[in-house]
């Protein structure tokens, strides 16, 4: 079988380079994205990131902002959490390795996609970063907890830290200023983990700390592993923080990769990665307020009531039930990070959300590979997304891939980059203490 795989890979790559399918840009953000017809040639169109070292390159941020790496050589950083004293917790890990090879395609696609990711082994740990003197340099770094299982979602509620491993929601007690977990994690509840095709478990806590919301991705692109393995998948769970009891909060969300609680009103928001292999401009990934009890379409429908008949048995009644998400972020951009901004980020970026986009594989011209800002007005997305951090790709080389984003209330955006294993910090230049600017001029 391996001979066959090698042969197919060589042929596939050659034909993929030749390209197939038109890749024209369509307007695909906001409430009413253009939805072109479905396209799928004999080969799924693939353009995989070619990783390269940053060298002298740096992410590009808007005028009036500065970007600095605050931690490097991490072990696959995914999500970050800013603690009340300004310390930053970073979840490091790589999950999903148990998904079985069920078709020759799985061998080949797995091999090709792996080229676009970091070869480093996931840390399965939480790293704490501290800037004790407030100069913007995180000089203190320590492992807060280890031997976790592909930790991803992070949330704090009062004096408890919650971590969503790929197979369980766990918690640690937390005292302000603590640098090391005081004991092993306590399991709040097991999470659906069989196969774990989409293994990331996103996490957010309600303002009162009573409930946790866990994003659980589907076990396939579009049901190709059979619908039996999709039990309790592609949904957001609401978990009681005390008892661990869970219930389905919203369903039909193919891969809800990041959750965030809207400040003030406590509305839950999610970014969701939509299905592949329907062409370069289908289906738009999206940002949406997660409504209790709502069904968002997967696998039977996309963007409201558009049917996807690749799933059998097909259920027309589920297509009718599907509701439209709020705001399209573009097809294949792969949003994996979501954080609400605040006034400390300046007037232009003060009201809205930051979205970290890991970047595409299933289209010829890459999209994503950046952090965008979606402005909000009256608590709802309003207007076009604004590029906030770019420069992750240049001349066909990919230096980094953004994942989780977090906003420091003191005025900084934290971005986890799982390709270069770096955590970036973007601050309004005016916010920086004068000492730091002087030190930089002297030092560099």
């Amino acid at each position: 079988m391996m001979r066959k795989a090698t042969l197919l890979t060589t042929a596939s790559l050659a034909l993929m380079v030749a390209g197939c399918g038109s890749d024209t840009q369509v307007q695909q953000y906001g409430e009413n994205p253009e939805l072109p017809g479905k396209q799928r040639g004999l080969f799924p169109t693939m353009t995989i990131a070619a990783p390269a070292a940053w060298g002298d390159n740096r992410p590009i941020v808007p005028k009036g902002f500065t970007v600095e790496p605050i931690a490097t050589d991490l072990k696959i950083p995914r999500q970050a959490l800013v603690l009340p004293n300004g310390d930053i917790l970073v979840a490091e890990g790589k999950g999903g390795g148990d998904a079985p090879v069920t078709r020759p395609k799985d061998l080949i696609a797995g091999f090709i996609k792996k080229k676009g990711t970091s070869p480093v082994k996931g840390g399965d740990r939480l790293t704490l970063l501290r800037d004790a003197d407030g100069d913007g340099r995180y000089e203190f770094r320590v492992v807060f907890a280890e031997h976790l299982n592909a930790p991803y979602g992070l949330a704090r509620a009062g004096d408890r830290l919650f971590v969503a491993n790929q197979d369980a929601l766990v918690r640690f007690d937390y005292r302000m200023g603590q640098i090391r977990a005081s004991g092993p994690p306590i399991t709040v509840t097991r999470l659906p983990a069989e196969i774990n095709h989409h293994w990331t478990k996103a996490l957010a806590a309600s303002h009162d700390g009573r409930f946790l919301y866990v994003g659980i991705g589907s076990n396939s692109n579009i049901g190709e592993r059979g619908m039996a393995v999709e039990e309790e998948r592609a949904m957001v769970w609401q978990v009681d923080a005390e008892t661990g009891a869970s219930r389905r909060f919203a369903t039909g969300l193919r891969n809800p990769t990041a959750l965030a609680m809207q400040p003030g009103i406590g509305q839950l928001w999610a970014v969701v990665n939509e299905r592949d292999e329907l062409g370069p401009n289908l289906v738009p990934d999206y940002l949406t307020a997660v409504r209790a009890g709502a069904f968002y379409g997967w696998p039977y429908a996309y963007w409201g009531n558009n049917p996807d008949k690749r799933v059998r048995p097909f259920k027309p009644e589920m297509v009718k039930k599907a509701i439209r998400p709020d705001y399209a972020l573009g097809s294949h951009t792969a949003p994996l990070g979501l954080a609400f901004s605040n006034a400390a980020m300046g007037a232009r970026f003060g009201s809205g959300v930051f979205v970290g986009m890991h970047g595409s594989w299933n289209r010829e011209r890459p999209v994503g590979y950046k952090v965008v800002f979606v402005p909000f007005r009256d608590g709802r997305p309003a207007g076009a997304p604004v590029d906030f951090v770019t420069g992750f790709q240049k001349d066909g080389a990919t230096f980094g891939r953004p994942v989780g984003v977090a906003v420091d209330p003191r005025g900084a955006l934290i971005v986890a980059d799982d390709l270069s294993n770096t955590v970036w910090r973007i601050t309004p230049t005016s916010n920086r203490p004068p000492g730091q600017a002087a030190a930089e001029q002297g030092g560099e």
């Binding site: 004999l42 078709r103 396939s220 692109n221």
Partner: protein
Amino acid sequence: MVNNAALRRTIHPVHAVLLAGSLPLFLGALLSDLAYSSSYQVQWANFASWLLAGGLVLEGPALLWSLVRLLRHEVRRDRRWLLFVVFLAATFILGFVDSLVHAKDAWAMMPEAIFLSVIVFLLGCAATWLGFSRFGEEEV
């Protein structure tokens, strides 16, 4: 008469195994496709993918072998050998296309997968029939 006997050639036993061995695999792929289309159980589609891949693993070397022999004098001017190579190549190429169709997720492979699997099996039968005939008699 000695000359005549030397020209009445059959294919090498190993070549024959490669050729005929692909047939049950292609047939299995077709039957699995039919099972998937009537049951919606994706495991049948997975079986079909692997069976097809297996058929191609045997058919590939068989095709190569027949091409190499085409360059040699004893069969070069035999039209039936040429026909054998053409059918074998068609089986392999359409089998490969069928594999790509089977790589589409879930029901996206249907109904093309069934049509292609039927064609590939029939072409494979024809190629095997031709391959098992005797060659070189026309030159006598």
